[in-house]
Structure formats: C-alpha cells, structure tokens
C-alpha cells in the first residue's frame, strides 16, 4: 500500500527534465519530513547491521571485563629438602608473576617458611594483618616483630601482643616433585578473619 502511494506522489511531481522510460525519477520531497517506507527500511537495516557490527567492537573494548581474572600462579620457594629440618622461621625471596595486559611482571616478594605446631611446613606472608607493614623475624627475641606498631607474633605466626587483629596469614603451599610451591596473595587488613583480596 505504501508503495502505491509513493508512485502516486511521483506522478504528481513536476518534472524539470524529460525522463527516459528505463527509470523513474524519484521524488523524495523532504527526506526527513515525508519518510517513505523505503527510508524506514533503510534506517532499520542500517541500525541492524550497525548494531551487529558494533558487537565485536564493544566486546573488544570490554575485554578486561570479559576475560576471566587470571589464576593465581604458583611460585617456587625452593627444594623441600632445604626446609626439612628447620626449627626457626626462614626468610625467602620468591618471584611472583603477575599479568599486566600483554606484560608479565615478575616481582620479588619475601615470605617465611616455618614449622607449624603440628610439625608441618607452612609458608607465612610477611604482611602485617594490622596495617600491612612487613613483619621481620627477630632471632634474638624468637618472635616476629612488626616495626610499625610493635605487633608481635610467635614463631608459628600466632598473635602475641600489639594491635594486629589476627595472627600472621599463611599462604597456600604445596610440594610438587620435591619443590615447595606457594601462591602469593594479599589479605585484608584490620579484620579478625583472614580474607583474601582479589
């Protein structure tokens, strides 16, 4: 029906030039004012195709949100034999690998390998659960000491005194092919329970 009206309009339009028979002069009038069915189709089609094409573009931009957060990587602490006979906490520096877009950033982090009360080897994060200062092992005092607000922890990392709300945090560790591996991560400070930050 639309089509018919359109062709009727055409016949009413004055023509400035002669037309040959093989094509009809189109009359658009005011494109924006009298929108024909065709213009409507074009607009819808254009919007559809444009919308379809923008999907990959939007996904491209949203990649940081769409990509699943990178898994924590295991870092090597050393051969498990090194820690077989330890009685006191031992400090080690590990390489922690983090992804930064197309870069892989390797940073050095300190950790403590300790022997827990049940005789198991454990790995402690040196980050004070109070306000995040790095805790140091003092052999003379047989204690972990936090330099910031004098928090003190036992050789197993349990809280002895000071403002920290909990003991030192242990990190997920495992032994694989005789190597001690650890997952370095940060935990929320100032809360009584250990809560990983992601």
């Amino acid at each position: 029906m639309e089509k018919k009206t359109a062709s009727e309009e055409k016949s009413m339009e004055p023509r400035r030039k002669p037309t040959s028979g093989e094509w009809v002069e189109a009359s658009v009038g005011d494109f924006l004012e009298r929108r024909s069915f065709l213009a409507f189709l074009l607009a819808i089609g254009g919007a559809l195709v444009g919308g379809l094409l923008s999907v990959p573009l939007i996904r491209f931009v949203l990649h940081p949100l769409l990509a699943q957060t990178t898994q924590l990587k295991w870092s090597e602490v050393g051969s498990i034999d090194e820690f077989k006979d330890i009685v006191k906490p031992v400090k080690r520096v590990i390489n922690v690998e983090q992804r930064d877009g197309w870069r892989k950033v390797v940073s050095e982090k300190a950790i403590y390998v300790i022997r827990a009360a049940n005789g198991q080897i454990k790995v402690l994060s040196p980050i004070c659960p109070h306000l995040g200062c790095p805790v140091a092992w003092s052999g003379e005092l047989n204690q972990f000491k936090c330099p910031c607000h004098v928090g003190a922890f036992s050789p197993e990392g349990a809280l002895i005194s000071g403002p920290p709300p909990r003991g030192m945090d242990d990190l997920d560790a495992k032994v694989e092919n005789g190597r001690l591996l650890v997952q370095y991560q940060y935990f929320r400070s100032l809360v009584p329970k250990k809560e990983p930050m992601t």
């Binding site: 658009v28 494109f31 924006l32 089609g45 990959p56 877009g101 197309w102 390797v106």
Partner: protein, 480 residues
Amino acid sequence: MSEPEPRNGKIIEWVDRRTGLNTIMKVALKEPIPGGARWAYIFGSGLIFTFMLQAITGIFLTLYYSPSADHAYTTVSYITKEVTSGSLIRSIHAYGSSAMVIILILHLTQTFLFGSYKGRRELLWLSGTVLFSLILGMAFTGYLLPWDQNAYFATTVGTNVAGEVPIVGDWIKRLMRGGNDMGTLTISRFFSLHVLFIPAMIAIFVSLHVYLFRKAGAAGPYAADPVEPNLPEESFYPRQLLMDVAFAAVLIAVLAGLARFSPADLGPRANPADTQYLGRPEWYYRSVFQWLKYWNPPYTIIGVLVIPAVVGALFVGLPFYDRRKERRPWKRPVAVFVFLFILGGLIYIGRASYVEDQNNPGVRDQILQQEKETERLMSQPFEPELAGVAKAAPVAISPAAERGKAIFERMACGACHGEGGTGGLALKLAGIGARFPNEKLTELLRKPTPKMLEGGMSPSPLKDPELKDLAEYLTSLKPF
C-alpha cells in the same frame, strides 16, 4: 498528501532550525545524476565506506597497540590471540586495506573509462590523485606496524627503493626510517603518519573531492557531454543510494567472512639479524617490487625515477592535456590503450613476481617454510612480555659493605625499603650516598628524624660498628 503533515514534525523542525539537517539531507540525497543511477558509480561511496570502516577498527586497535620496536609485536600478538574479538577486528582492518586498494583501482578505472575527469574537472581529478597516493601511503605505513618479519623486511625493501633516488635518495630514506636503520623510530614515524597525519589529510581531501564533485556535477554516462549532459536526471535517492548500500553490505559481508574464516596471521617477530628471511610486500606493492628487479645499474635511475616520473606526470596532468570533450572510450583509443596497458602491465609483472618465486626451488622452499613457521606460531598461546625485573647489577663492594648487606638482610630493612634498597613501602635507598655522608647516615639510623619515625622507621638497636657497616652498604647502593 501533496502538502504533507510531517510525523514527529515538531522535533524535526526544532532540530532543523538549529542545524539545517533537513537541508543538508536534501542536498545530499537529491544530488541529480544525469542519465540515472548505475552500478558503475558505486565505487566512490564504497571508498568512503571502507575508509570509515578502517577508521573505526583502527581507532579501536589503538586500545591495545603500542608503537615501539620493543612492544609492537607483542601487542599485536596479544590482540590476535588474547583480546576478545581482537583477531576479528584486526583481520577486518588488515583485509580492509586490500579492499580499499581494490576499490580505489576500480574507482579510478571507472572514472578513466567514462572520461569523467573531463569538462572543468581538473581540480576534482587532482584531489583524486592526492587521495590515491594518500591511500597507498596508508597501506604502506600500516603494513609495518605489526613488526613481524614480513612487515620488517617488506618495509626495509620499500624504504631502500626511496634510497635509490639520485642525490636526495639517502636523505629521504633516513628521513623515512628516522635513522640509518629500521628501528623503533621507524615505528613511531609510521604510526604517527598512519593514525594522525595521513588520516587527517584524507579527511580534508575527501571533503574537497566531494565538494568539487558536487560543484562540477555528476558526469553521467560516457555518451553525455561532460559540461552539459543534457540527459534526464534522477536523484541520488533512492536508487543510487540503494546500490551504494548494497555494495557496502557486500563489502562488509566479504570482509567479515574473510576475517572470521581466514583471519590475518602474524609471522615471527622482526629479526634484523635473520639473513635467510625473504620479505615480500603486500600484493598491491608486488608489481613495484618486481619492476625494480628489472633495472640494474647503470639503468636503475630509469626504472626508479624516469619512468615512474613520466607515468606519474601523465597520470596527474591527464585533464590538463586531454581537453577533448569526447568521453566514449572507443573514440579515445590511445588514452584507453595506454591506461589499460599500464594497468595490465602492473598486473602482469605483479603476477610474474609470484611465478618467479614459485619457479625458484630455493625461494619456494624458504617461503613455504616461512609460512609453516607462521602457522606454527599462530597455534601457540600468547606469550606475554617479561617486564619489571629491575635488578641492580651486582657490583663489587667493600668487605664493610658486604657485612652491612648481611645486616640489611637480617634486619629485614628490605621489607619496607625494597630488596637491595630499591624502594617499596618506604624510601628508595639506592643512591642515598649521594645525599648524605656515611656519618650522617649512621646518625639517622640511630636517631631517625620525627618525619622518619612517623613513616614507620624505628631507631636502630644496632651497635656503632654495625651501623657503620650498614651505612657503608647503603652508600654502595647505586641508583639505576
């Protein structure tokens, strides 16, 4: 219906009063085409469409691309292998450049065969020739950016060609490369040209080209007089618009299909030391590449300069010396023959380049092996770039400093100040020796200033000799 009552009339009127949009649309859509709409006229708008597609995908690609010799390859690999839809967008952009060159050639051929440059269209033609070189410039500069072997060697050859030009050649070559050799400055330059300079020029010249086109009016079919076509006119809307839209739809379908089912690959990282690698330019530069092989000293200058200059001058000056109003191709046999001869010649020697590669067993095997290697690399997962291990190089230090180092480690100073005093939560200590003499350092360690105390530094419980050793160690730490 003869005096239509606009739907949504109020809003449209409001917008139109302020923008004149209605008028612009009218001018754009009512462009009169003498002789009516034709498929032959779709290439101009096809070029604008592809250019916009290239601009959009290109802008998005810069989100993840880094233009430096160190990172370009990794970032392109990241886009290709890791970023969501990255391969698709990069492939559309890469294939889009080929599409643009093809449509450019079709547009030029149509204009030439229809004699549409005649009849007061000299400036229109000139702006077109500028756009021609700008688009080829886009293709050339863009090709280098992934910084893989092919990009590197193709551009090395390309810039070497410029070096063949007598007298100023070497100067041009160094200017293009940003130095004697291809390197990080070359990428910076090409990137800047590719995303800023040339696109801006293209935008300006496209506007000019379209303006001049509308000023002169569409030339219409080749039977028509170029100045007074004297043919019944059809407006651009709707039939020509529909044809243009159909062409755009085909283009996008082909590009998306190619990008989806045969994505653009990325070869091995550029390695200037690789003497085996055979760099081959993109197909549209293949004929130039092959052409240069035919010209050896002392005739190089003829092939590199004389013949291209003559052809270029003939090309640019066309509407100035071809002043006849006759447009029908069969009535202009010489012009049409020369045009087709050059076009056919380019296609022929371009093809010859591929054939030559295939016929030389050594070359064929090397290229085959390069393709295999590329395929293998494409199947590998993305390998991120190692960054951020900023370790001070080990320097020989005095025994006192050596003892101080042990103290530094025992006292866990590094927990705040970073391993090796590289800085962390607290002050970076490397380089502190330049600011304080040893005695002052000892003093500060024993009795920190209020500001230091506030920052979490505690007075050291160490004895004097130990403090001296520690200060000695701190002084030995060099900034990096």
